[in-house]
Structures are given as structure tokens and as C-alpha cells.
């Protein structure tokens, strides 16, 4: 066993200002294996990989590689490449303006005797490399002419063609379709048989069980365990990732009443968005709280983005209150009575330099159009109402939003949508990164709103939270809606549904 080990990382610790990203984490990669690195968002997968490939410098810990003396400390991707560690990232790290051949060989181009780049030789070599992966494309074309999938394959070809002993694939499949994934797997197996160790980071459970030999699970920056694929059934894997044991699964009583008899508010029929979410059907009644669950990257956010029109649906139809919707942009769905709280509030929702009042009034103003300014007195009234109602802790309504705590910022953004009195409110991870007290308040608020007749779609990574608030849950897996649970909503059932498969 010992002799098989290609890379061993022990006691890796890495802190960023205010955050411990890695807490004595470890990872062992053996020769000729495909090793899945699993964990939810913030588990530290990317960080540990970046510590290995020299993007980050680790604070402490040891890294050893077979055939390399001593404790390895790479300071750049170049260093890592020199000792045979190649990485392919989710975003294609190639130059779109160069040809395929150049992207494969830049930095090590074949030269003519005079020292100039030998284009003919380079193109010939490139053709050979791509043929090896059974991808026949014109290597003299610039990369931007090809799809993201092909670009990803070129990136992998580049990594593979170098003399690499350890290949790290950081979510390489998220932009590939099934056929392309199959192609990639074939290449991965080919490499494994040659003795290359592969670290495979992915959110797709199916893929892990299809191609991997071993799994390392991480949670909150720490090592949870290393398992062989055979000894870790799906449900256990999900439990390990989410940090739940079946033993302490005290059934949480679902206090909300499923209002199964209310009138239907919204029906989605076969909607989809290419590359993010496969066609799905969805229905929500008035006053109902529906949860959407699944692992990160399973298509939770993508589904609601599609419903809301942030990603334009490319098929099917959407009907609200019996009227078919033609949504070209979010403003259309706002006008029809939808509200959407995105998961990344820093990037998508929060306007830190504007005041609390301005942030609250924003969506309402947008719906009214920019030439129908809401009178200042009315604005103050609305803002004060929500500050009181949601107990937003702010010195005044004119305080800049960025001065508020995360939880209170979140409440302001929720207030923004409540101000528009939506029929349907979509909350994507509204409780992420805020304290327990505020979390409970937000959950209570959701139930109260539903009681008043508002329909809510609720997404959260914390299953208990959804169990407490939702009357029905949609289960997402690998970009597809795979089922709905409307009775026996228990943590165990939900986790089983998330994990899928036979066990």
C-alpha cells in the first residue's frame, strides 16, 4: 500500500483573513487510481487543490510526492508542472485568440533550426495529440471557434500531453454533455491504466460511481474520511458530505400544513435551459412553500433562474394564474408578480453604497418604471414598515447597506421583494452565512407569508431548515429534477432521494 502512494498531503492548514479554509486536512493519491474529492460548498476542496498546485501557499502541513525529495512546496503552477502535477480547471484556462495547436504547445513550441517556431511541425503534433483523444478538429483554427466542451477537451489534452504523473480535474464536466463526459472518462481510464494518479473534483454523484476508485470526503475545511467506492454507498456519501449521521436523525415534525387544495398559481411545463437544467415540470399552489433540494450544482438555482427568467427558458411553457407567460428578461416576471432573491447576494442583489431605503425600494421602483418615481414620503413609509416588520437592525433608514451585518443585509433584500407584494417569492439560500437567530426569524417569516397567501419557493443547503418550512420538496440531481416528496418528509427520505441510485 505504502509504495503505491504518489502524493500524500498531511495536516494541511490554510487560513484566510477571518476564515480557516483548511483545518489539518489530508489527501492521499495513489498511482493508477481515480480519486474523487467530494464535499459541499466551502468544504475546502478547491483550497486543498490550490495548495497542492502552488496557487496558494499553505500555512502548515506536509506534502510528499513519490520520487521527489523532501517536503514539496510549489509556489506556482509552473513549479507543480515541473514535478508532474497538471491541473485542468472548470473555467477553461486557455487563450481563445490562439489556435488549438498553439494552446496545446505554447511555452514549448517545436522550433526550426534557426530558432523560429515550426508551425508545420506544431500543427502535425497537435493533430496527433487530438487524434489520440479521438477528437478530430482543425487544429489551425483559433480556439474561440469551438464550443466550451471542445475547449475543455483541449485543456485536458494539454495537461495530458505533458509528462504528468498526477492530473487534477477540478469540475471539468460541468460544461460537458453526456457524450463528451463519456469521452473524458475514456481518456481518464486510459491514463489511469498508464499509472497516472487522477484527482477528480465533481458534484455529480453518478460520475463518481461510474469512474472513480476512491473517495475522499471533506467538510468545513477538514478531512472526513477516505473510502473505496465499494464501501461507501450513496446515502452514506451524502450523509458524510452534509455531516449528518442517521443515528441522530431525530424526526423533525413538520408543522406546516400542506395546502394541497389551494388554487394553482404557477405551472411550468417542460422548461429547460441548455447546459444548466434539463426539461422540468413544476407546479406551485397559492400559499404553498415548496423546497428545492439537492447537492450544490445539482441544478437547484438553475431551475429557479429558469422559472424567473434570469436564464431564458429554451423550451416548454410557463403559466401563471392561467395566463401563459412570455418572459424575455427578469423585469417581465417582476411585472407578473414574481420576486427572486439570488443565492449570491453580494454579486447579484446587494447594492452596498445605496441606503437601506433605496435598496428596499429598488424592485418596486423598477416595476413602476423609472419615470414614475415613488414619492419620498411613500418611500420612507415603506422602508420604515419593513424595518419594523422584519426587525432589521440599522441605525437609520438612510444608512448605507454595506454597513449592516450580513443577516440584516439579507433581510433588506427580502424586504425589497416583499415591497412589490409578489404572488410568488423565490428565495435561493436566504439563510446562508447568517446567524442562527436571524435564520429562525427568516424561517418564521416565510411561514407567515405563506399563511397570508404568498407562494414561496425555498432553496437551502440545510435540510432541517427546509423540513421545517416546506410542505413539499423537489429533488434535483445532476441538473435534472428527479422527483418530488410530498409525504413522509424526513431527513432520511430526502437524503436518499438526493443520493439516488439503488441504495
Amino acid at each position: 500500500m505504502e509504495n503505491d502512494e504518489l502524493i500524500t498531503m498531511r495536516d494541511i492548514t490554510k487560513t484566510f483573513p477571518g476564515v480557516i479554509a483548511l483545518d489539518h486536512a489530508q489527501l492521499t493519491l495513489r498511482k493508477g487510481e481515480i480519486h474523487a474529492l467530494m464535499g459541499e460548498n466551502g468544504a475546502g476542496k478547491s483550497t486543498i487543490i490550490k495548495c497542492l498546485t502552488g496557487v496558494y501557499d499553505r500555512d502548515s502541513g506536509e506534502v510528499h510526492m513519490e520520487g521527489v525529495e523532501g517536503n514539496i512546496n510549489c509556489h506556482s503552477t509552473e513549479d507543480a508542472q515541473k514535478i508532474g502535477i497538471a491541473t485542468v480547471y472548470q473555467e477553461v484556462n486557455l487563450c481563445p485568440n490562439l489556435t488549438v495547436a498553439e494552446n496545446l504547445f505554447i511555452g514549448r513550441e517545436p522550433r526550426t533550426k534557426a530558432g523560429f517556431i515550426d508551425w508545420k511541425q506544431m500543427n502535425r503534433n497537435a493533430k496527433k495529440v487530438m487524434d489520440g483523444l479521438e477528437i478530430s478538429i482543425d487544429v489551425t483554427q483559433t480556439l474561440e471557434n469551438y464550443s466550451i466542451a471542445i475547449q475543455q477537451m483541449v485543456a485536458i489534452a494539454r495537461a495530458v500531453d505533458r509528462d504528468c504523473r498526477a492530473l487534477i480535474l477540478d469540475e471539468p464536466t460541468s460544461s460537458l454533455d453526456d457524450k463528451e463526459v463519456e469521452k473524458l472518462f475514456r481518456v481518464m481510464r486510459q491514463l489511469r491504466d498508464k499509472g497516472v494518479g487522477i484527482i477528480f473534483v465533481t458534484h455529480f454523484l453518478e460520475q463518481v460511481y461510474e469512474v472513480c476508485d476512491r473517495i475522499t470526503v471533506m467538510r468545513n475545511g477538514a478531512f472526513v474520511g477516505e473510502y473505496t467506492v465499494a464501501e461507501l454507498p450513496r446515502v452514506k456519501l451524502v450523509a458524510a458530505m452534509l455531516g449528518k449521521d442517521f443515528d441522530d436523525l431525530a424526526a423533525i415534525k413538520n408543522e406546516t400544513m400542506a395546502s394541497a387544495d389551494g388554487e394553482v398559481l404557477l405551472v411550468c411545463d417542460g422548461m429547460s435551459h441548455k447546459g444548466t437544467i434539463k426539461p422540468f415540470n413544476f407546479k406551485i399552489r397559492k400559499g404553498e412553500v415548496v423546497g428545492i433540494t439537492g447537492l450544490l450544482g445539482s441544478g437547484r438555482s438553475e431551475m429557479v433562474r429558469c422559472i424567473y427568467g434570469a436564464d431564458k427558458s429554451q423550451s416548454g411553457k410557463e403559466t401563471m394564474k392561467g395566463e401563459e407567460l412570455k418572459i424575455k428578461a427578469p423585469i417581465d416576471s417582476i411585472r407578473k408578480g414574481m420576486g427572486y432573491l439570488p443565492d449570491d447576494r453580494k454579486a447579484d442583489g446587494c447594492i452596498g453604497d445605496l441606503s437601506v431605503r433605496e435598496n428596499i425600494i429598488l424592485a418596486l421602483q423598477a416595476r413602476q418604471g423609472m419615470f414614475h418615481t415613488i414619492p419620498r414620503a411613500k418611500q420612507n413609509e415603506i422602508a420604515d414598515e419593513f424595518i419594523r416588520e422584519l426587525s432589521i437592525k440599522t441605525p437609520s433608514r438612510e444608512t448605507a447597506l454595506k454597513q449592516l451585518s450580513g443577516g440584516n443585509q439579507q433581510k433588506v433584500i427580502i424586504a425589497r421583494w416583499l415591497a412589490t407584494h409578489p404572488d410568488l417569492l423565490i428565495l435561493d439560500e436566504p439563510t446562508r452565512g447568517i446567524d442562527i437567530g436571524t435564520k429562525t426569524e427568516i424561517q418564521k417569516m416565510i411561514l407567515k407569508l405563506a399563511g397570508e397567501g404568498m407562494s414561496v419557493i425555498f432553496i437551502s443547503s440545510e435540510i432541517e431548515e427546509m423540513l421545517r418550512t416546506c410542505s413539499r420538496m423537489c429533488v434535483m440531481r445532476d441538473g435534472e429534477k428527479v422527483g418530488e416528496i410530498d409525504h413522509e418528509l424526513t431527513q432520511e427520505n430526502v437524503m436518499k432521494a438526493i443520493a439516488g441510485g439503488d441504495n
Binding site: T77, E78, Q81, T87, Y89, V92, N93, L94, C95, P96, N97, L98, E102, N103, I106, G107, E109, G115, F116, I117, W119, K120, N123, R124, D138, T140, Q141, T142, E144, N145, S147, R158
Partner: protein, 342 residues
């Protein structure tokens, strides 16, 4: 192995530039037939007047390829001319060492700018703007008068400036006094064309050249692929300032003078020429040959306006503005269609 190259949008842009140049020149020949527009010499004069600009535009092209910009070139030319004029004219320095001094100054100037931009990550616009003010100020510090270089002061430099390299006589014409005017070019034209060829080879066939492309295409990717982005940027700016110094010498050979106001707005001409020649302001796409045609188009507009004689010379600026808009819009349109196809 011969591969058929599809005409992609970048090549198409350059084709449009070249066609536009030919059409514009043909119109000139037709409208101003009586004023000698069709003579080979008029065409060659385009090169003679713009030799400096061609050199500078080549350097600008390299810098813009990285996604940057160099607005110090106009002032640097003024400083070069002033040093040449003051050094050789007033101080009586010999010709060759002064020229070497100019080239060394160019390299140092680029080294400082490139270091600030590449290694300290300061905005190219700001950095080269500082360079612009510095060089212009330095020009005035050396001398505020307009200085000329005369034959008595430096015979060698003077002889270069007035040297004519004749082309075959059959290209010439007989003037109204019955004398055969053989078309000629100046040595500066040879220098400029040499610069174009060398830069073309550097960009296409050397590792440095391809690194410039990669940096312009995607800086993060270039780093990830193990290229030295900082050094590439540093050398791009050194190259720009060095070529600018060569351009400055060509410029001085044309004007034989130095003054504070010289070559004002020259950087904008160089940028305009690059853009018209198919360079993308965001970096990554460029063609040196295209840039040369950009210069030629600019020159043709100027020649057209001056040949007319009645038009205000500012009309040339307006025409350049219109052309720039045209090409920028064209670039966006192509980018739009490309995105839609993907």
C-alpha cells in the same frame, strides 16, 4: 501539409482595410488626376512622410496586443527630435553616438514603463500618461526654441536626410519641362519597412511574440499555462519605446528640427492606425500588416485633403473619426455574430 484557411472575421477586417485603402487611393487618382495623385511618387511620399508613424504604430500594435496602450509615444518622439537637434545642432555631438543614445533612451524609457505596468500592475494608461508628461516636459527643459539641424552642423545626418534611393526609371514621368522625374524613396522608408518585416516575424515565429498574443487573449490563462506574463509585458513596452525611438529618428530625418510642440497627438494617430488596421482594443487580435495599411489610410486622407487645397486641414481629422467609428462598429458587429454562432 497544406491546410485551407477559412476566412475568419479578423482576416476579413484586414481585407476591408486594404480594400478601403485601394478604393480611397483610386478615388484620389480619379478626382485629382491633374494634380499628380496618380504619380508613383505621390504614393511613395505616403511612405516617406509616414515612415516614423509606421515604426511607432508597429510598437503600439504590440502593446495593444497585450491589452494595454502606450500614449507616451508622441512626447517621446518630440524628446528624441529635441535631443537630436540640440545634441548635433547646438552641442556638436557626432551623428552615430547621438543616434545610439536615442535608442538607449528608448529602451530605458520602455524599461521603466514596462516595469511599472508589468510588475507593479499599474494601469498602462496612467503609466504611459506619466511618461507622456515627462517626455514633453523634458523636451522643454532641454530647449524651448525651435531648433533646426543644418548641413554645417552635421553633414552626415544631413546627407542621410536628403539621400534618395531611386526606383527604376520607367516608373517615373516626364514633367512639363521635359525632364524625367525618377521616383525615389528616402532611407527612412527602408527602415520602416524593415521594422514591419521584423515585427511581423517576431510576432508570428518567436516565443516572445506568441506570449504577447497569449497575454492579450487571456492573462489568467497565460499565467496558468506557465508563461511569464510580467516579463512579456515588460518587453512589449520596451519594444514599443524602442520602436518609438527608431520612429523618432525617422521623424527627425524628415523634419530636421526639434521643438516642444512636435509630434503632438502622434500617439493618437498610432492608435487610430492600429485600430483601423484591425487591432482590438481589448487585446489579443492584431495584424502588423493591417496596421501599416492603417497608417497608409491615414496618410491618404491627409494627402487627399491637402491636394484639394481648399478644404480646411481639420477635415482630415473628421474623416479619421468617421473611419474609426466605422471600424469599431464593424468589430462589434463581428463579435456579435461570433457570439451568436457559438
Amino acid at each position: 501539409m497544406k491546410t485551407k484557411k477559412k476566412i475568419n472575421s479578423n482576416n476579413l477586417l484586414i481585407m476591408i482595410t486594404i480594400i478601403m485603402f485601394i478604393v480611397m487611393y483610386a478615388i484620389g487618382c480619379f478626382v485629382y488626376a491633374g494634380k499628380g495623385f496618380a504619380h508613383v511618387q505621390t504614393f511613395l511620399n505616403l511612405f516617406i512622410t509616414n515612415a516614423g508613424l509606421i515604426c511607432v504604430a508597429c510598437g503600439m500594435t504590440c502593446v495593444m496586443l497585450t491589452g494595454g496602450i502606450d500614449i507616451s509615444v508622441g512626447s517621446l518622439i518630440a524628446m528624441d527630435c529635441m535631443i537630436l537637434a540640440h545634441g548635433m545642432g547646438v552641442q556638436g555631438w557626432p551623428c552615430i553616438p547621438t543616434i545610439i543614445l536615442i535608442l538607449v533612451i528608448g529602451v530605458i524609457f520602455g524599461l521603466v514603463q514596462g516595469f511599472l505596468i508589468g510588475y507593479l500592475n499599474i494601469q498602462p494608461f496612467i503609466t504611459t500618461m506619466a511618461g507622456m508628461f515627462f517626455a514633453r516636459g523634458m523636451t522643454a527643459v532641454i530647449c524651448t526654441d525651435q531648433l533646426s539641424i543644418t548641413q554645417e552642423q552635421n553633414a552626415l545626418f544631413y546627407s542621410w536626410a536628403n539621400a534618395k534611393i531611386y526606383l527604376p526609371a520607367f516608373l517615373g514621368y516626364t514633367n512639363n519641362k521635359g525632364k524625367v522625374m525618377t521616383p525615389y524613396v528616402r532611407p527612412t522608408v527602408i527602415i520602416a519597412l524593415l521594422v514591419v518585416v521584423v515585427i511581423f516575424i517576431v510576432l508570428k515565429y518567436t516565443k516572445f511574440g506568441r506570449s504577447i498574443y497569449a497575454v492579450g487573449g487571456n492573462e489568467t490563462s497565460a499565467t496558468m499555462m506557465g508563461l511569464n506574463v510580467k516579463r512579456t509585458k515588460l518587453f512589449a513596452y520596451i519594444l514599443s519605446s524602442f520602436l518609438c525611438s527608431i520612429g523618432g529618428i525617422c521623424y527627425c530625418l524628415n523634419t530636421m528640427s526639434g521643438s516642444v510642440q512636435q509630434a503632438k497627438g502622434f500617439e493618437m494617430d498610432a492608435i487610430a492606425s492600429s485600430v483601423i488596421g484591425g487591432t482590438r482594443l481589448t487585446g489579443g487580435v492584431v495584424n502588423v500588416i493591417g496596421s501599416r495599411f492603417g497608417v497608409m489610410i491615414n496618410g491618404t486622407i491627409n494627402t487627399l485633403v491637402t491636394t484639394n487645397g481648399k478644404l480646411l486641414s481639420s477635415w482630415a481629422n473628421i474623416a479619421t473619426a468617421a473611419l474609426l467609428c466605422f471600424f469599431i462598429i464593424l468589430q462589434s458587429v463581428f463579435a456579435y455574430f461570433k457570439n451568436r454562432n457559438n
